[in-house]
Symmetry: C2
Subunit: 146 residues, 2 copies
DNA sequence: CTGTATTCAGACTGACTTATCTGTAATACA
DNA sequence: TGTATTACAGATAAGTCAGTCTGAATACAG
């Protein structure tokens, strides 16, 4: 703490974006991504397996195998990914840790946090992978090819 | 994950607010707060010791001892407390986990997150304990007396 | 001065996160 | 058919976080 996403989730976002930037039909291998993105090999494997089981990615074994998006980039949102990895308690729980916190029963920063939380929620829901891929200007994503 | 503050920090905020609502001159004991706020006894002890060492609280041993604010409630901000417990990397680090992330070198949500991050930062800096105590309407803070 | 209530200090435990290691199953290609 | 390449699975290890336990130091009340 305190960061907004877990390490696991950060890696997931980086990798999914990498996969999304691949030309249609090509697959991305763990080996390839672990090098380009500097993510531990087996750890990345676990994360991508997890996303595959949940349908967000498709995987294929063998020499030409790897990972591809499990749905169109326009349909996959940040919310899908964060929900699958970290969960999205962030968008509902009291920031001061009280079990119940409402307008009638507010904590000391209830109003202010409600606004910020809504902003975060909107970002998660509205931002889809296609748009993210367009806005990404990181050098390690430049020459995406095996 | 994913919550914005650690457990430790949530407890700290709850306790400091409790202390701030005490009549001037009276001290709050761990025993008292652990009951009212439902926080593990020794864990709360550690947290308050930590805040005492950092000057945010004053402590006194013995039968009439306990904790009091280390500075006027108007001068102590959320930022002070969060910085002391969790650290405030949240207000500077890249949300996707990239080591460097700037306008020239943006990640996929750089712009959107910059706005939200500023909002969070402003809340932390501008919200002081005196105001928080005023806005707090939780039942466990109602009859504050030993 | 004595007893008691409190903070203070350190070691310890359990759960979770972040990896790492070793081996197995599936697939493409020569 | 065999071999290389890849994802998959399970065990293990190190680090951090949350919480517990025991006892010492300190200060007040009588």
């Amino acid at each position: 703490m305190s960061l907004i996403f877990s390490r696991r989730c950060e890696y997931a976002l980086q990798a999914v974006l990498y996969i999304a930037l691949k030309p249609q039909g090509e697959m991305s291998s763990i080996k390839e991504m672990t090098k380009k993105l500097d993510i531990p090999y087996h750890f990345l494997g676990k994360i991508l397996q997890d996303l595959s089981r949940k349908g967000l990615l498709k995987s294929l074994k063998g020499p030409t195998g790897g990972f591809a998006l499990g749905m169109p980039a326009k349909d996959m949102t940040l919310f899908h990914l964060v929900e699958a990895i970290d969960g999205v308690e962030l968008t509902s729980k009291c920031v001061m840790g009280f079990p119940e916190c409402s307008g009638k029963n507010p904590c000391a920063v209830h109003e202010q946090w409600a606004d910020l939380r809504d902003g975060i929620y909107k970002m998660l829901v509205n931002k889809h992978i296609a748009e993210m891929a367009k806005d990404m200007k990181k050098p390690m994503y430049n020459s995406i090819s095996r």
